[in-house]
Structures are given as structure tokens and as C-alpha cells.
Amino acid sequence: MWRYLAKRLLLAVPVLFGVSVVVFAAIRLIPGDPAQIMAGQAATQEVVEEIRRSLGLDQPLPVQYLYFLRNVLRGDLGRSLFNGAPVVEELGQRFPRTVRLALASMAVATLIGIPAGIAAATHRLSWVDTLVMVLALVGVSIPVFWLGLNLILVFSVRLGWLPAFGYETWRHLVLPSVTLGTASAAVIARMTRSSMLEVLGQDYVRTARAKGLPERAVVYRHALRNALIPVVTILGLQLGTLLSGAVLTETVFAWPGIGRLLVDAVLARDYPVIQGTVLLIAATFVALNVAVDVLYALLDPRIRYA
């Protein structure tokens, strides 16, 4: 198990290295000049050149990359070209907010999605099943900004129960996490349902029923645990997506997380911020994948890592 973990973590090194090369090259291939944007549209060419020099953007690309890599290895992701803030500091401030939003959304998604999926599977082809599946379809189809703005309209403007934006307290967390969790809840419900249906048709479930176990025990003790394995995979992927920043939700609710940071950085061609954020997201994904694999083993004793 430990050897397996070590191997997986070692494998993350080439992955992150690859990500760093691709990001570094890709953002420099798109047109647009950070020095020009920073100087403002009125700036003269001379000023733009000066800024470019002061940012080291006049150096050859491989040289710029090596500097970047050296600094990353020292734990320094550079400074924002725009506001001069250290990228590590910026991410340290914003990532926890994104994590908070992601976990809350995940809680919403799981608490709705798994029970709904189980209910649909155990009441297959009944009205419960139809209702869950229709809601799931609606849930994945609703545009996030539409849902978010409508939730604000009802709960903030009309009823005045919850704040429209901000991130300070748990009350600020409710609307964004519902907005963000809805689509994930729908995906999880569908996955749970199909996985449960498959398991419920298995021999051991029939055996369990034949033993005379109550239906609750059959569903929750025997079927659910096995049905959860593919669901855990989906949960991991969903959480990864949520942790990489939900741009639309963060924009609608003015939630200063890393999603908005990344989009703003791309629009401003703020290279160090883009690089740092993407590296952080890649690292998060790698870590989550390892975590999911470990969870498999806990859920299914047949799975062993060597």
C-alpha cells in the first residue's frame, strides 16, 4: 500500500512537469501582450517596451522557462504582473475559499444525489424514478448563471433571507453551493441509480433476499456498498472539477476564488498567475485521483495495491 502510494506520487512529478511546459508555452502562443494591457491603451510603445523589459518578457522563451522552473522548485511561483502580489500568497488566500465552496457544493450534491439515485433505483419505473430522472435532466441542463441569478432574485432580493454576494459567513455559502451543487447532484443521482440497478440484479443480492433479510438491509448493507465504487470515481472527478474553481458561480456570487482568478489572469495575460493556478489545479487532480484509488481499497476488500 505505501509502496503504491509512493509510486503514484512519484508519477505525479512528470505529470506536473508536462503541465508546466504546456501551460507555459500555450499562454505565450495566444496573441496579446501583458505589457500593453498593463500600460493602458494610451501608453506609448516606449513605455510598453520598458514594462516588457522590467518583467523579463524580452528574454528568450527557454530562458524564461528555466527561470520559472527554478523558482517553482524553490516554492516561488513569481509575482502577478498586474498587481505585483506574490502568486503563492494570492493562491493561499483564494484556494481555501474555493475549497470551502467546493466542499459545501459537494455536500449538497452528495446529500441530494445519492439518496435520490437509490430511491429511483429501488422504485424503478415508478413515478419516483421518473421524477428523479426528470429533475436530474433539468439539473444538468440549467445554466449555472441563470440558476444563480434566480436564486439571488428569490432568496436575496424578494425574501431577503440570504446575502446576494460575498463569502464571509455560512449564510454566504448557501446560495453558491446550491447553485454549484445542483449539476453535480444530478450527475451523481444518475450514476447512483444505474450502478444500484446493476448491483440489485446480482446473485448475492438475490441470496441476501432469499436469506430473508429485510429490504433495507439488502439495499443499504449489501447493494449500496458495492454500488458506490463507480459513484466514488464520479465523486472524485466532480470534486476535482469543483476545486479547479467554478468560474461562473464565482462570478455571479462575486466569490473571490481561484476560478475567477484564473479567468481574470488569462484575460490580462498575467503569465505567472496563470501558471501557478494551473499547476495548483493539476496537483489537486493528481492528489484526488490517488485519494480515490485508496478509497476503492477501503470500499472493496478485493482491490489490493502492490
Binding site: P31, D33, M38, A42, T44, N83, G148, A164, G166, A254
Partner: protein, 525 residues
């Protein structure tokens, strides 16, 4: 029961107390926190700033020598009186107000002014607006503790207007020192903790989220600040910002989208403020490709500016009647009502120029940079078609757009493009010289239209050194008349700033230079 009764009693008392207050004109009440919702956060609150969201916060913390009033007049601020300009126009002597202190307690005097200007003038410090604002200033002298003299390379009348610009606000030299200085490109680390003489001082800045200012109880000015705090919050989504205003979480929402104004006008808790902006929107031709003036004029005849302003912009704009907009020193209406809409005249001019069979042009436009920019471009496209002009629309994300339209004349593939220009100094020079003088062709300057008219060049040069205001205004009028006839642009409109304000907010100023000013604002309770 008792509690209910006493509750009713208190309520009745409150109603009784509030009745006389409603009929009498309200006296300004001190206290309270004003929350302003805007789309973006500031970048830096130092002389390294480059945009209006920086300027409006700086304007509360640090002050300039002179001030541009919303009506377009220049009045003394940290200066005691208007400057004395020598007969040859090469020196400007400014008397400063006495007894003013920075927020850190250090005195404001001629040395502080010299320190600030010297810092900006030093090329090594790479202050972005150095050339634009102080390019003609050679040096600064301290004559006595409260008098400074600026020495100019050549007479440069717009300098007075430039001294009203927030990027030339006077910061505390001691505070800059204590913060660890200002470094290019964005004035870090001082830029995050500015210290000036203004009515408010910085309390907290959470990047990407909020800036909190608090009242400066020792403010020197005659009109003391009333608010306890001003908070700017970054709410990037237009719809969410409007909802936050309706829900009462912000008192002011900037850039309300035109489609929302009709609905908001019905809300009695709010009012919609429409203030002209000094930002002019135009479609520039590549004048070295469109060399025939008849063709350029035909485009102007073919576009119905009035219809665009009424329908696409919901009235939140003003049809251009000159290359710059009202409220700018040197503005004069060149063609009242704007360039006339006359499709037949357009067709006739095109036929004369040899384009009777029609004409195809690629029209570039940004999306989301200016109010309804993409919709305006689409409307222009539809109107041009009636005159036999086929416009292909092409849009680009802003950073790419800026770079694409900034290529030198021998390399640029650009035919026509939409842009906006804010004359933020409030002086015609800034709105005309960079855009129309032939020395300013891109990429050296902002003349991305590659317009050249030697007469215009000469007039713009002359106006820079003309000390007599009336003669100077006349030079600009002549230059603008020539520019108008040459039609290097399709002259579209100047934007209005549409700001949603809650009723309880009093004394707020929406300045034409796209700044929300709350110096004397207060909240009615």
C-alpha cells in the same frame, strides 16, 4: 401582550418623529457606510495606476493640486490659487495651501510636491503615465516652502488640466519610504497602502474583493467627509451587481446594463443616474487603405447614429457632434445633431468614388469592453448594407484586440475597427493629439487610424502653446472642423454612465471622467 403594546407605542413614536423630517429638506447626516458595487477591483493606488477604477479610489485618499469639476472647470485643490504662467509659457508657478498634513502626520509642502513629481519624471521609475501627463515638464523647483515652479521644455497649456489627474495626486514621501518604496510595473509595495491628504484614508484592501476607506477626522478641507466608511466591492457580473443593488447589499451599482434600466426605473427604492462620460466611441478606418474621403464620408452618412443610441443603447449615450465630447476644455459642437443620416447621399458618394457596385469591409469590434459594443457593431453592419456596403464583423478578446490594432502601417491587416477613447485629463489636447496627430501613428502613439493632415498637425501643435484660452479654443475648433470633414472615423457616440443609486444616498457625484466620488456623500436614515 405588553411587549406588543409597547412595540406599537414605539412604532407610533417613530412614525410621529419621522413625519416632520420627511417634509423638511433633509440636513446632511454624518455616519454610515456607503457600499459601491463595481465590476472590477483596483490594481494599484499609486502613481503607477492606469485606469479609472484605480483613479476613483485614489481620488478619496490622495489629492491633486487642482481639481476638474464635473462641469469641466479647473479649480485649486492642494494649490492655493490658479498657477502663474510666465509670458513665454515655459514656467508655471504654483502656490500651495498651508497647514495641511498627510494621514501619517507629516506636512504637505513644496518638498512633497517636488518629491512626487521628480519620482514620476525619473525615467528609471517607469511610471506608465509619465509621458502622457508630465512629458513636457523638464524639472521642478522649490521656491519656498509653499511654492513650486515647473519648468517646461516648450509651452504646454494642457499641463494645468493634467495636474487635476489622480495619477498626479500627491502622496506622502515618508509613507512611500516606510512602505518600502514604489517599484515598477505597479508601484508595489506602496501601491497597496497609499497615504495622502484626502478626506478618507485606506483601512483595508482584500484583493479581488473589497477596498475599505474610513473617514479622515482631521481633514483640512472646508467640506468635511460625512460617511464613516466607503467600501468598494468587486461584483463582476452585471446582473448580480444589479440584484445586489435591489436587495440593498450595495448602495451604488456602476455600469447598469441598458436592458435593466426600464425595470429599475419602476423601483421606488432606487434612482438611475445618467451622467455623460468623456469617453467617445468610434469606428476608425485605416486611412491609408481607405484613402478616398468620399468613401469615408459615405460610411458616416450610411450609419444612423440616432437610431443606435435610442434602440441599442436605450438612450444611454449622446450622438457625437465632434471628435470629443462635451465637458472637455476645448470642445465645440462641429455638426450639431451629429453627422446626418442619408443613405442616398452615401450611395451617391460611393458611386462617385467608383464603388457603385458595392464594397466589402472587415469591421473589427471588441465584445464587452464598451456598453453594448457588439450590438452596436451589428447595427452598423445592418445599416451599411442599405448603402451597398458589406461589412464582415470580426471580434476578438480584448488583449488580442489591443495588440492586433496596434501594428505598424506597413504590416497591419486592419481595415476598420471600433474603439473608445476617454479624454480623462478633461483637455482637448489629450482627446485629439494622440488620436489625430501624424506623429502619433501606431505603434508609437494611439493614431491607429493612420490619419494625416498637415494642417491639423499644425493646429494641434499651436494649440499646445497658445496661452490665450479663447484663441486656443478657436484653434481646436478649426482642427476639429478639418478632422470632421476628413472623416477618418465613423463618428458614433459618447457613452453615458448608467449608475444605479439607492434613494437614501445623497450628495454622490458621478464624474464625467468615469469616477464615483463620495467625498461629500451621506446616507439618509
Amino acid at each position: 401582550m405588553n411587549r406588543v403594546l409597547s412595540g406599537v407605542g414605539i412604532l407610533a413614536l417613530l412614525v410621529a418623529l419621522s413625519l416632520p423630517g420627511q417634509s423638511a429638506p433633509a440636513a446632511p447626516q454624518p455616519g454610515g457606510v456607503l457600499i459601491v458595487g463595481r465590476g472590477v477591483d483596483s490594481v494599484t493606488l499609486s502613481p503607477y495606476a492606469t485606469a479609472a477604477p484605480d483613479a476613483e479610489v485614489i481620488a478619496h485618499v490622495a489629492e491633486t493640486l487642482y481639481e476638474l469639476t464635473p462641469e469641466g472647470r479647473i479649480v485649486p485643490k492642494l494649490a492655493e490659487s490658479m498657477p502663474r504662467v510666465s509670458a513665454d509659457g515655459r514656467t508655471m508657478t504654483i502656490r500651495l495651501r498651508r497647514g495641511i498634513r498627510f494621514h501619517d502626520g507629516t506636512p504637505f509642502d513644496a518638498h512633497a510636491v517636488k518629491w512626487n513629481f521628480d519620482f514620476i519624471l525619473n525615467p528609471e521609475n517607469r511610471v506608465p503615465f509619465r509621458g502622457i501627463l508630465l512629458g513636457e515638464v523638464a524639472s521642478v523647483d522649490v521656491l519656498d516652502r509653499y511654492t513650486v515652479r515647473l519648468h517646461l521644455r516648450r509651452p504646454f497649456v494642457p499641463l494645468l488640466a493634467h495636474l487635476t489627474h489622480d495619477f498626479l495626486a500627491i502622496h506622502s514621501p515618508a509613507a512611500v519610504e516606510r512602505a518600502g518604496g514604489m517599484r515598477p510595473p505597479n508601484g508595489e509595495p506602496y501601491g497597496r497602502q497609499p497615504v495622502g491628504t484626502g478626506p478618507f484614508r485606506l483601512r483595508e484592501w482584500v484583493r479581488g474583493d473589497r477596498i475599505v476607506l474610513e473617514r479622515n477626522p482631521d481633514y483640512w478641507g472646508p467640506r468635511k467627509p460625512l460617511l464613516d466608511q466607503i467600501v468598494w466591492r468587486a461584483i463582476p457580473d452585471d446582473g448580480a451587481r444589479v440584484l445586489a443593488l435591489e436587495g440593498g447589499q450595495v448602495h451604488v451599482a456602476v455600469r447598469v446594463p441598458p436592458r435593466e434600466t426600464t425595470r429599475l426605473a419602476l423601483n421606488r427604492a432606487l434612482r438611475i443616474d445618467r451622467t455623460n462620460s468623456v469617453r467617445t466611441i468610434f469606428i476608425a478606418f485605416n486611412n491609408q487603405k481607405f484613402t478616398d474621403v468620399r468613401v469615408r464620408q459615405a460610411f458616416n452618412y450610411a450609419v444612423n447614429k440616432r437610431a443606435i443610441v435610442q434602440t441599442v443603447l436605450g438612450g444611454a449615450a449622446r450622438v457625437s457632434d465632434a471628435p470629443i465630447s462635451p465637458g472637455i476644455v476645448g470642445y465645440a459642437p462641429i455638426q450639431p445633431g451629429g453627422w446626418p443620416y442619408d443613405v442616398n447621399r452615401a450611395k451617391q458618394l460611393l458611386a462617385e468614388a467608383g464603388y457603385g457596385g458595392g464594397l466589402t469591409v472587415t469591421l473589427l469590434h471588441p465584445t464587452g469592453r464598451y456598453v453594448q459594443d457588439a450590438a452596436v457593431a451589428a447595427a452598423v453592419q445592418a445599416q451599411l448594407r442599405a448603402a451597398g456596403i458589406h461589412a464582415r464583423l470580426q471580434t476578438m478578446e480584448w488583449a488580442a484586440y489591443l495588440a492586433y490594432t496596434n501594428q505598424p502601417v506597413d504590416r497591419t491587416p486592419v481595415e476598420a475597427f471600433m474603439l473608445g477613447w476617454g479624454t480623462v485629463t478633461g483637455d482637448a489636447d489629450y482627446g485629439l493629439f494622440s488620436l489625430f496627430h501624424s506623429s502619433q501613428w501606431a505603434p508609437a502613439g494611439f493614431n491607429r487610424a493612420f490619419y494625416r493632415n498637415p494642417q491639423v498637425d499644425q493646429l494641434l501643435d499651436q494649440a499646445r502653446s497658445e496661452l490665450n484660452p479663447a484663441r486656443r479654443a478657436d484653434l481646436y475648433k478649426q482642427a476639429m472642423t478639418l478632422i470632421w470633414r476628413d472623416a477618418p472615423w465613423i463618428f458614433l457616440h459618447s457613452e453615458s454612465q448608467t449608475t444605479g443609486v439607492r434613494r437614501e444616498v445623497q450628495g454622490l457625484v458621478v464624474h464625467p471622467t468615469e469616477r464615483i466620488l463620495a467625498h461629500t456623500a451621506w446616507l439618509r436614515r
